[in-house]
Symmetry: C2
Subunit: 492 residues, 2 copies
Amino acid sequence: MRIPLDHTSDVPLYRQIENYLRQNIRSGSLAAETRLPATRELAQELGVSRITVNNAYAELESDGLIYTVEGSGTYVAPPLALSTPLVDDTAVTYPLWQQELTTGGGDDPELGVVARPSSRPHPHLIAFTGVGDPHQFPVDDFFKVLKQIIREKGVTALAYGNMSGGYPTLRETVAHVLASQGIQANPAHILITSGSQQALALVCQVLLQPGDAILVEKPTYNFALELFRSLKLKIVGIPLDEHGMQVEMLEYLLQKYHPRLIYTIPNFQNPSGMCLSGARRRQLVTLADQYNVPVLEDDFAGDLRYNGRSLPAIKALSPPGQVIYIGTFSKILMPGLRIGFLVAEGPVFSRLVTAKRVHDLATSALMQHALERYVTVGRYQAHLRRSCRLYRQRRDAMLAAIQRYLPAEIQVIPPQGGLFIWLRLPENKSSLELLVLARAEGVDFAPGARFFPDFAEGDPYLRLNFATQTPEAIAEGIRRLAIAWQRLGDSR
Amino acid sequence: MRIPLDHTSDVPLYRQIENYLRQNIRSGSLAAETRLPATRELAQELGVSRITVNNAYAELESDGLIYTVEGSGTYVAPPLALSTPLVDDTAVTYPLWQQELTTGGGDDPELGVVARPSSRPHPHLIAFTGVGDPHQFPVDDFFKVLKQIIREKGVTALAYGNMSGGYPTLRETVAHVLASQGIQANPAHILITSGSQQALALVCQVLLQPGDAILVEKPTYNFALELFRSLKLKIVGIPLDEHGMQVEMLEYLLQKYHPRLIYTIPNFQNPSGMCLSGARRRQLVTLADQYNVPVLEDDFAGDLRYNGRSLPAIKALSPPGQVIYIGTFSKILMPGLRIGFLVAEGPVFSRLVTAKRVHDLATSALMQHALERYVTVGRYQAHLRRSCRLYRQRRDAMLAAIQRYLPAEIQVIPPQGGLFIWLRLPENKSSLELLVLARAEGVDFAPGARFFPDFAEGDPYLRLNFATQTPEAIAEGIRRLAIAWQRLGDSR
């Protein structure tokens, strides 16, 4: 037990030991029933006499903080008060360098309004949030594979993972899955990441500096925005319409802001559900090439198409090395895998491999092995077909319910796939205010603010995830939303 | 299957499809035996006539790239050549923004000399590299727990992990383990990370900008150096002696370089094995406080003490919020867990939580649950005792072998714990050159260059890991090292 002792101090050593233990027990960091070292042990370890330790223990015992069991040892007593006292940060003054941190720091506008726990939480909340439906995850099959790996690989399954891009076999599997979707990728250009979020972070790390401008769709993925903010990037938004990013405005913005990166989600965009049209994809490619700006293509759910024609990946339309492509197994299989990947060609790839290594050395060897074993092109496609059939029904159920329960003044554009339906409230209506009422009625959704570079701009919008609920729950949820909408109107 | 088609092009559509598939098959990204979509399917998906697809398939089949099985479908044929051709980057010209990347980028000096596979790899290489001994990992017990978690939690074990610091119960467990080691930490100030490497990266992310100066021991942990380089930090080194960082030089360096962070490994330092003395710990704390510089305390192996007195953590000696403490379960339990943690108080903590979230959302829920279930204070201490007993024998075996086989001109300072013994060759001898000969003799070690801000300065040093080999293998390995040393001398 490493207890700081100051031999030069006027405070006697036994007091120093006593005070230190007292602090630890009071703060709860020394748990009740923790066995303290024998006095001989501790004395030797601290280089003090055994009497010193005995004195310290005696003081603590007389205060009821510890107790001794004959022939067994000395233990921390159960706390007299209830639980660990929550730390009161206001009581402490922190170093100057910390006080500088308190200013700024892109805080979530919802914290004030919504994140606060609802006064009376609804017993049967219907949540139109999250990603795919957990009940669709092939958990049992996956765990069978997990056990196989554990049996076969034993200890190596818990060694460090491969530190130079991920397991070659997994990278080949990813290449084959991509190819089956019409996206060409050589395994040598695939980097396994800890979820697609890390892929995003690595690309920013390698290509951008604080203050650089980045072009994003408006709205876009909230955790991407949070990342860009935390990296102190200048976020420039391009508005969307039903054909995706309004590429017509791109050249103007490229000239005005000289962005170092274009971040786009071309398929079933998060949160809007829109797809970038083929014509606009080609325009985007031409302009990115012409203005020498890399494109980051986030294809988080490109496979989940329920109707309409599939469109080529932007990467497939671009000259080699122009586009960095990001994909994930989280949406289609299981978020908990925390395994994503990126595809990049040219010098940037080795930079990304290095960035991955310095950020967390490697992604779990166990998970990489298991995923590689579990995912085959056939299995993936079968799972994809099942998911598409199911999610399509749910999308249609939600669109029907919206038709039935919500007034026409709330605008909706039916998505051709993905997970989300994007609603727009009439001007001067707030989705944050609606959310408070909606939760009271027993329905939850993602308010629009978090998806916009400028929070306020997003307030009239809300994102509904239709993939996680049954058609019945969807109908009931939208009915509740309609009631909340009513109450919002009345409250004005 | 998303195939890019240009309806305006002069190239007929069937050719576009054919060429695209041909490319994919040639590049290997469409694997042999991959089932191609039925012509009707693909035609519908691409919005072309079925004849168009038939034509494309026919062309490919006549070239032997695909084959059809009556009543089953069309498949990619096994490659005529051997395997996937490795991509020839030199053949391609990449966008301008990529060519800028090729310059700089702290490349490993060993790549040229050593990383190249040995001409004749030794059949029974004895590796004094790596971290703990994999055979000591409590794999079976851990997997039992893993299966329990899977059985109990089912799908939730594969949902996203907690995004605000990690699972509370795991954070409490960490606090109790730390307390049992005499380090006070409130669970509310503990952040679970994907290995301690990520903790390092997050702290840099939050506190440092490119160009900022960071103070490190010289030598220090190579992956920390790689991280600092990749973040374009100015790395300022303080030399070590047998009492750790030469804190006497600290004030001068603080005044000269105004570092924004002091990174230190006070216990059984990696790679030198040295411990920072108690007096110097107090000097360090005083100066850091006085000059308002945060301290990052990396305690990767502080528990692995085999003799001598344990010393208080720097964090335990500092005013609240002055020190960020990093720990890990990788060294003592299993690297493959990829779970580490940091302890930080004050405003910086919430910044670190945000940084964690934007970097990879969350650490594997499954692994967090399993670790929380597996680790108890008692179990941890028992495992620690076993490891210390074992590693102590191995340290002594290596010191004895060095005494016996290596000449006195090679300097060694016996470490009191940890995993590493640090050797210094006489001036103008190169550990990189020695390594080439050593591998030929069948022994591997970590050359010193990678542990120094200035590679060249580290060339006379080498790091031996004594924890991963049996005493017999250690003796044999050092004997081989002595032979390599002989040959190095002869070669001059």
